[in-house]
Amino acid sequence: MNVRLYLLQRATALLMVPLILGHLAVIFYATRKGLTAGDILGRTRGSIGWGLYYTAFVLAASVHGAIGLRSVALEWGRLRGRSADLLMWVFGLLLAALGLRAVYAVVM
């Protein structure tokens, strides 16, 4: 990992600290009487706040997870530099695309 990837991974980690604390709080709150779609969508549909929150969360997690996966692939998967970079980009973009689609689904 070079300094640029390091900075991106640690910055997204720091950003996600409050986001994850919030997410855990929502998880506990949402399961107080069973998880229902109506409950979830009632919170998120049309909410700019939740939309921004989950968009930031998805993008940070995609960057953070993709860089982490690259390290694991290099060290445990014995991938060489170029193929580990490719895996990072494919996984990161896939995660971001699926995540933003999910945010769109619950907010719009």
Binding site: R10, V17, L24, T31, L35, G68, V72, L95, A105
Partner: protein
């Protein structure tokens, strides 16, 4: 023929804490696409998402959700420990910090399990 046995340094609690951090991160990364696909069921309407949620009301899914909550908590707390090491003056007691992170994550997971059963 195998080489000499020389990985005994892995018997250290801090090495194990590092592996907990890596494996929890890896599992969370692999779970996220599934999480996003499930939520995207709302594209087909509320009933579509709700049908899926009712299908996940099985013990197997509850166990998996509990584990995921634990993984999220342990990765958060373990990551905080790393961020502190990397960005602040060194402080002793890292083994205790690592053990505290894992213990708190277990408590969070246990609390979640109690809540959903």
């Amino acid at each position: 023929m195998a080489g000499p046995r020389n990985a005994g340094y892995r018997r250290e609690p801090l090495w194990r804490a590092a592996m907990v951090h890596r494996v929890s991160g890896l599992l969370l990364a692999l779970f996220l696409p599934l999480h996003f696909l499930a939520l995207a069921l709302a594209l087909h309407g509320e009933t579509s998402l709700d049908r899926f949620l009712r299908w996940t009301d099985q013990p197997l899914f509850k166990a998996a959700e509990t584990i995921l909550v634990g993984l999220l908590a342990v990765h958060l707390l373990g990551g905080l420990r790393l961020l502190i090491i990397e960005n602040m003056p060194w402080r002793p007691g890292q083994k205790q910090m690592a053990m505290a992170a894992i213990s708190i994550a277990l408590l969070v997971a246990a609390a979640f399990l109690v809540r959903i059963i």
